[in-house]
């Protein structure tokens, strides 16, 4: 086979996706797929060597992302992707460590880790697919479920006040925050690219339909109908006050880049403080010894 022919056989994202694991487990018209595609494109665009990118996921439908990317990828326990990623990053600061998980995994069972990673400004990019529901376990309410939405554990409508993750993380100290819907393919890819290149804790929220459970239970049409609804009912407001971007049931969604600020990362703070206190005695040690220089960021 000629090289030219080989190339036509390949999908442009074959380098990043594990084609040997296809077909994937996600339902038709689930929003996770587009978010993964945006991520793969964003990674390519950053030109970070693929060998230097690690993806860590928790548990759930989005938690399966780690299994489909052809990168060093770790499918961990429910809620614990962020602490795992923290260890990975601190052991090898050269790595670009990405956490890819769902709203339930990151903000319910993993909520404590989410806020502390943002507080520390740990150098991680967190991609949160927010579909307002637990998909893998069959459509239960999440801390993000909007009021009145029907889920298998709120059969008469959800009533707990939901998290506005943007407000939460702004208060904790994240360096970069953006939100798009899964149909804002170009803008979502742009934000992911920016987030990946931003030192410190970056957070990209992708509002996505769960077609099988959320859309069906709430009679919102197919996943694609809902994806389109989210997109068409979104309002771009870059720099919006995160306190003002709550999401209500089937109402307009404010999207955009909300936060982009400079804060020292955990590693920088750790080094600066030890330098101040210990001077020359401080031995900045990057655990990884495998060839290649370690960034001093």
């Amino acid at each position: 086979m000629s090289d030219a022919m080989k190339r036509t056989d390949q999908h442009p994202l074959d380098d990043i996706l594990r084609s040997d694991r296809l077909p994937h487990i996600w339902c038709a018209t689930c929003g996770i797929g587009t978010v993964v595609k945006c991520f793969a494109e964003a990674i390519q665009r950053t030109e970070i060597p693929l060998d230097d990118v690690a993806v860590v996921s928790g548990i759930g439908c989005t938690g399966r992302v780690a299994g489909y990317v052809k990168l060093d990828s770790y499918h961990t326990t429910h809620g614990r992707a962020i602490p795992f990623a923290t260890g990975l990053k601190l052991a090898n600061p050269r790595l670009k460590v990405v956490v890819f998980s769902g709203d339930g995994d990151l903000s319910a069972i993993g909520g404590n880790h989410l806020i502390h990673a943002a507080r520390r400004n740990m150098d991680l990019t967190v991609i949160c697919v927010n579909n307002f529901i637990y998909g893998m376990t069959g459509g239960q309410a999440a801390p993000t479920t909007p009021n009145t939405a029907n889920t298998s554990t709120t059969p008469f409508g959800a009533f707990e006040p939901p998290f506005n993750l943007q407000k939460l993380l702004e208060a904790c100290g994240a360096s970069y925050q953006a939100r798009w819907t899964s149909l804002h393919v170009r803008r979502l890819t742009n934000s992911m690219t920016e987030a990946l290149l931003k030192p410190g804790f970056s957070f990209v929220e992708a509002i996505a339909p769960c077609s099988t459970l959320y859309a069906r239970r709430n009679r919102l049409g197919s996943g694609f109908d809902l994806m389109k609804f989210y997109h068409d009912n979104s309002e771009i407001q870059h720099g919006a006050d995160p306190r003002e971007v709550d999401i209500s049931f089937q109402d307009s969604i404010i999207v955009g880049k909300f936060i982009d600020r400079e804060r020292p990362t955990w590693q920088q703070l750790n080094d600066a403080q030890h330098n101040r206190s210990l001077g020359e005695k401080y031995f900045r040690h990057d655990i990884v010894e495998a060839g290649g220089e370690v960034s001093d960021a």
Binding site: D51, K70, L71, H75, G87, A91, N92, H116, F283, H285
Partner: protein
């Protein structure tokens, strides 16, 4: 084996408590990452580490809880670190899910548990030995771990090095089960020259990029590892997985995986287990003990030997895997096992299982908060000898 790095070894004679000796053992073993959360009576281990590590090279991070601590340790190991965490009963309970993940992903790491009185918050500042079953069975599913129990600060130092070496050899979590008394007792600790300390390097795959399979095994059933960033671009998961590390959820793959996770330890048990025996020749009674209780029982052993009872002593430096074979052998020769422990009967149950009715097992429980009165153990030995 390699030699320890002299920069990390505090060679000389010191006066250290068990917790601090533990830190020095970890440093000598090459531990360059600790994630921890404060909990009595173990906190001194990480306090000393946070003071020592900046000038040596390595990372200490205080996490938001024990769940985050153990999980950060796992991440750090896959990123290339030699890592451990340190806790006590309540924190140990919180770590259990991810200790299971460590076993499943075959992540070499060390967990120090300085045991206090439980259940629940129990006796935070006082001794207990009631987490020894939890060390073995605390996470869900079938798996094996290794657990060690030092009886002095000196031994805390040496067993920490063994713990790291065993973790690397078998790729699993190794637990070092101190108890509050050992953790807080101060004694002379002699730290040898770095060149006298053997360190087992990580089993790193030498496969070319694209050839590496995370769970491909050789004769000893233990796979070689690759760290993130080495170019293998592999996937691993806590789901039941095949050699490629890919989820493969069927009974056949599961059977093979679970057997291997257990058998890689069970089949090497003779190599792993460390026992300290004395007076076994012609013994009619064998006292089985570990940790602080071994020290307390010494007086009872001496007293009963002086009174003419033939008492052997079997001290468990390795709690898990359990020395089934040795206890089985002894059961055929002795009249009874006497098992004092600072709990309401844990290791005694294992002894009873291994004795299988061929020798009597006599538990001498003590609920915690203090150690046994040696007189109570003496009476138990006398009783068993009757």
């Amino acid at each position: 084996m390699e030699k320890a790095d002299s920069k990390r070894v505090l060679t000389g004679s010191h006066y250290l408590d068990g917790d601090h000796a533990c830190t020095e053992g970890a440093l000598a073993a090459g531990c360059n990452f600790i994630a921890g959360y404060p909990i009595t009576p173990s906190t001194e281990v990480v306090e000393r580490y946070s003071r020592r590590i900046p000038a040596i090279g390595g990372t200490f991070i205080q996490m938001e809880d024990e769940i985050a601590s153990i999980t950060a340790v796992l991440g750090a190991v896959w990123g290339g670190a030699k890592a451990m965490t340190v806790t006590s009963g309540p924190g140990f309970s919180l770590m259990m899910e991810n200790i299971g993940l460590a076993a499943m992903l075959e992540t070499p790491c060390v967990i120090v548990n300085v045991m206090r009185g439980g259940p629940s918050t129990g006796l935070p500042t006082m001794v207990g030995q009631a987490d020894v079953m939890q060390a073995r069975w605390g996470s869900h599913g079938d798996y094996e771990i290794i657990a060690l129990a030092p009886q002095s600060p000196q031994e805390a130092f040496t067993l920490m090095i063994d713990a790291f070496n065993l973790a690397e050899r078998y790729r699993l979590p190794v637990m070092v089960m101190l108890d509050e008394c050992i953790g807080h007792m101060t004694e002379k600790v002699v730290i040898p020259e770095a060149c006298e300390i053997e360190i087992r390097p990580r089993r790193i795959s030498t496969k070319e990029k694209g050839e590496y399979l995370p769970y491909e095994i050789g004769a000893d059933m233990v796979p070689d590892m690759a760290h993130a960033g080495e170019g293998h671009r592999y996937h691993i998961t806590g789901l039941t997985h095949d050699e490629r590390g890919y989820p493969a959820m069927d009974a056949e793959v599961h059977d093979k995986l679970v057997r291997r996770l257990c058998d890689k330890v069970r089949e090497q048990a003779d190599d792993i287990i460390m026992l300290d025996e004395d007076g076994m020749d012609g013994a009619e009674i064998v006292l089985i003990s570990y940790g602080i209780t071994s020290r307390v029982a010494r007086a009872s052993i001496e007293a009963t030997r002086a009174a003419g009872i033939k008492v052997g002593s079997l001290r468990l430096q390795t709690l898990w895997p359990f020395p089934e074979k040795r206890i089985g052998e002894l059961a055929g020769k002795v009249k009874a096992f006497v098992v004092p422990e600072v709990n309401y009967g844990q290791i005694s149950l294992e002894v009873e299982r291994c004795a299988a009715g061929r020798a009597q097992t006599l538990l001498v429980p003590h609920m915690g908060g203090g150690v046994h009165d040696p007189a109570v153990i003496t009476r138990a030995i006398e009783e068993a000898a009757k």
